[in-house]
């Protein structure tokens, strides 16, 4: 093995705040644990500002009922499922570079442990802004794992993909596509049933 490869193998994961800006058009850092990205047809500043106003996150993150901004770096997250099960945790911003990245982490002792990072980089050909998201959830009691599973019928990765799609739809069109509340033949009015 030549030196170049040996060096690669010896590299440790770099904490988000120590990472260099992404090269133009690139989506990922080489050590990102999760690789989900979406291209949003809006200027990078607009997308960054939307995300940095953390109360906006509840507009598109599935079942995230509210994000309360307690201070410029401290937020309270409230997640609620349709069945009424709730989880609340406080998170702090651990790193931030304007129009480039934001990292956050739940405070020690929260009922769920979660951290996440989001990166913003310019998309090629004037296609707007690439947003890539990494979110980790762990809960000693398994509460959030159960949460996430119930949320998507799948796993945390799927939830991230869904959330990125919803962010894109919201920023590009001003609404999130839905069919919830539309009619169907499963709720038949009995007396008129054929």
């Amino acid at each position: 093995m030549n030196n170049q490869y040996r060096n690669l193998n010896q590299q440790n994961a770099v904490h988000a705040k120590n990472k260099r800006p992404l090269p133009y058009g690139r989506t990922y850092h080489s050590d990102d644990v999760s690789r989900f990205a979406v291209t949003i047809g809006k200027p990078i500043e607009e997308v960054f500002n939307f995300w940095r106003n953390f109360q906006n996150l509840s507009f598109f993150m599935k079942d995230l009922k509210e994000v309360e901004v307690l201070s410029p770096t401290l937020t309270r997250w409230v997640m609620e499922l349709k069945n009424g099960v709730k989880a609340t945790w406080d998170a702090e911003v651990t790193a931030e570079r304007k129009n480039e990245m934001i990292s956050w982490k739940s405070l020690p002792g929260s009922e769920v442990e979660t951290d996440g990072s989001v990166w913003f980089s310019p998309a090629p050909q004037g296609k707007g802004c690439v947003v890539s998201l990494v979110m980790n959830y762990s809960a000693p009691g398994g509460k959030v794992t159960e949460f996430i599973t119930k949320l998507t019928g799948e796993d945390g990765d799927t939830l991230m993909q869904v959330n990125l799609r919803r962010l894109k739809a919201f920023l590009e069109t001003g609404e999130i596509p839905t069919t919830e509340g539309q009619p169907n033949g499963r709720e038949v009015i009995p007396e008129l049933k054929h």
Partner: protein, 390 residues
């Protein structure tokens, strides 16, 4: 309201369901006047499209009158008479701005399903399975139309429904099929299938400058309908070797372009009934692309195969060596309906095309289940069913 609901394989019923309401700012509610049954509705009727749920309202060829608009609707007004495209597009994403409307990024709330099956999700469709968004369709008294400014074409007063209804799907689909053929003046186009999309494609191919159009099917009435537009016809039940026959008819060269207007229906198909089963059956599930095989085999060197026929899964024994050996071009996909509606309306208003010729049956909404049965079982006589709703 009354709506036609999918109840399972070979079973559709009229049910009384709640009226649709505005769910998003750019929605409109439309009082349906006419709704057609599409050949692709038969895929649902036959139970081959995965992610259908009992009670889903069908229908994606719809027109009517706007009765309510959301606060985010800018152009459309209450009272407008509109045709609704079968695909639902946001009008704002990269693909919509490129007029690739059926590739819309944003309209499908269940995009994750198609993402996993196809690598990317296309636009949502009305009344066409939950993988394609699960939106309630238009074979009903009312329909909710998302992104209403994009998904509508206002029809001028004084022109009857039957002349413009097919702007919702089969006319743009037939047109795009012909456009995808790269027709040059004097070309010969062969079309597999003589169903409604094929009937539109025949006329559009002539409009685009084709000199000859050859249509293959085995329903005589459908072939006669194609012949009325000037097509030559082949009943493939009476033809031993279609490639040889087409070669003979084209001086040994083969048709300049070939349209597969049949799709996975050619000999039925076996798309598993749920996404999980699709995953489980990877490598086993196959559509039956008989029309496509023949189209590839028959096409001239350097020619184009245009595929408006719907495919869903995996294809077996596609003669890709022939495609490569002859340097064929393939063009396919769901129609970018919104792109074609206005120019085709202009052609209708100018008297260049009148798609109402294809209608063989008009029924009330209540009789829609009968319409499905006829369309499924009596393909010779029943070519296009239109439901009159209001």
């Amino acid at each position: 309201m009354k709506a036609l609901c999918w109840e399972g394989k070979y079973s559709v019923e009229i049910r009384n369901v709640p009226d649709p309401t505005i769910l998003n700012p750019q929605d409109a509610i439309v009082k349906v006047t006419s709704a057609a049954i599409c050949g692709s509705d038969l895929h649902l009727y036959d139970g081959y499209i995965p992610t259908m749920e009992k009670g889903d309202i069908l229908g994606h060829e719809t027109m009517g009158e706007v009765v309510e608009v959301g606060v985010g609707v800018k152009k459309l007004k209450v009272g407008d008479r509109i045709v609704i495209p079968f695909d639902i597009s946001c009008g704002k994403c990269h693909h919509c701005r490129e007029e690739e409307y059926s590739g819309c990024d944003n309209s499908n709330p269940n995009a994750i399903m198609a993402d996993k099956l196809y690598g990317q999700s296309g636009a949502a469709l009305f009344g066409y399975s939950h993988m394609y968004g699960g939106y309630a369709g238009g074979q009903a008294e009312y329909i909710r139309v998302p992104y209403a400014d994009t998904n509508s074409l206002v029809i001028p007063k004084g022109i009857e429904d039957d002349k413009v209804l097919f702007l919702s799907d089969i006319l743009p689909t037939g047109y795009m099929a012909a456009e995808n053929c790269n027709i040059k003046r004097g070309d010969t186009v062969a079309i597999w299938g003589a169903g409604p999309v094929s009937q539109m494609a025949v006329r559009c191919a002539f409009l685009k400058g084709a000199e000859r159009v050859i249509v293959l099917d085995h329903y005589e009435a459908r072939l006669r309908m194609a012949a009325l537009a000037g097509a030559e016809t082949i009943n493939f039940d009476e033809c031993d070797d279609i490639t040889e026959e087409l070669k003979f008819l084209t001086g040994g060269r083969g048709p300049d372009s070939c349209i597969d207007a049949v799709g996975m229906e050619a000999h039925g198909h076996t798309l598993p009934a749920s996404l999980d089963r699709v995953k489980a059956a990877v490598g086993l599930a196959t559509d039956r692309p008989n029309a496509l095989r023949q189209a590839i085999q028959a096409c001239k060197k350097g020619g184009t195969v245009s595929i408006p026929g719907v495919y869903g899964g995996f294809l077996d024994k596609v003669p890709f060596g022939a495609a490569f050996g002859k340097g064929l071009t393939f063009k396919m996909g769901q129609t970018h309906t919104q792109k074609y509606m206005q120019p085709l309306l202009d052609l209708i208003l100018a008297g260049k095309i009148d798609p109402s010729f294809v209608i063989t049956h008009k029924l009330n909404l209540e009789d829609a289940p009968k319409g499905y049965r006829m369309f499924s079982d009596e393909k010779n006589d029943c070519i296009k069913v239109v439901l009159k709703v209001h």
